[in-house]
Symmetry: C2
Subunit: 166 residues, 2 copies
């Protein structure tokens, strides 16, 4: 961020998609900073960002299958498996083969995994709260609505099948 103003030769006249007005670049920067701040908050509790998204999805609804978790978190299945196994070793989740459909594995929070919710969700709320500090309720709502509109535009372009197979 500082680098641009510090650069010796600020020659950017040719760029016809300047970072400053690129929705893609700004979404990415916003995402990075949210992640960075969240990481600073949860690290002291022994939870990495890589675990965070899976915990979040399981707090929301326990017992999801590994496939569901991949879709929600947006990871490839091998990545999901690696994360879930490491969380299992850390005593946060248990993997249980589905009794009706042997191909499926359900992931359940342990007591410790459940309890982390009370410890960590307030931190996530704090991150979100600080992020939109100074926004009125309606500004916050407009911001959320804009993101949802962008998502539905992109989904229409990509085709939902692609996303589910991600």
């Amino acid at each position: 961020m500082n680098i641009r103003s510090e650069s010796p030769a600020a020659d950017e006249s040719e760029s016809y998609l300047p970072f400053d007005v690129s929705i893609g670049y700004q979404v990415r920067q916003t995402h990075r900073l949210m992640q960075r701040y969240l990481q600073l908050k949860i690290d002291p509790h022994g939870v990495s960002l890589g675990m965070w998204y899976f915990l979040r999805a399981l707090w929301d609804k326990d017992g999801r299958t590994q496939r569901e978790l991949s879709v929600i978190v947006g990871t490839m299945e091998p990545t999901t498996l690696t994360a879930i196994r490491s969380m299992e070793r850390g005593g946060l989740v248990k993997r249980v083969r589905n009794s009706k459909d042997k191909r499926k594995i359900n992931v359940f929070l342990t007591e410790r995994g459940h309890k982390l919710k009370e410890e960590l969700l307030p931190l996530a709320k704090e991150v979100v709260g600080k992020a939109v500090e100074g926004f009125s309720d309606s500004e916050r709502q407009v911001f959320l609505d804009s993101m949802k509109k962008v998502q539905s535009n992109l989904l229409r372009q990509i085709g939902e099948d692609h996303v589910v197979d991600d």
Copy 2:
């Protein structure tokens, strides 16, 4: 996204930071979809997302140091090095040791790296254009302004030093 409505037991009453209204979750989803759509566009040109952000930063200003690229793209230096080396093998960039400060390495686009800009930047513009389809100019501006406000809120929380050291 579909998964939640498909889930057998939609028991989500306890969650006190629902995905639907979480700025963090929505920023992440928006980012993921932008990346996914961009990837579909640039893949046929032999450029990966991992290369994309570095190319973008070099098209904006050629000859940046590896350290500057790490800060702008938001990667750790070893990751930057791996990406830059792979781009060098692919004939897109050249690494040149800085004559004034031997500790620095400047990265310059090759002719092929330069030419990719004409081929790929229009695709990125298309991605951004599709993303905000149906937005008025002022809605688009409000969206950009909101993201910048969020970023400055988060930067203030994190402290700029952390970000530069990222």
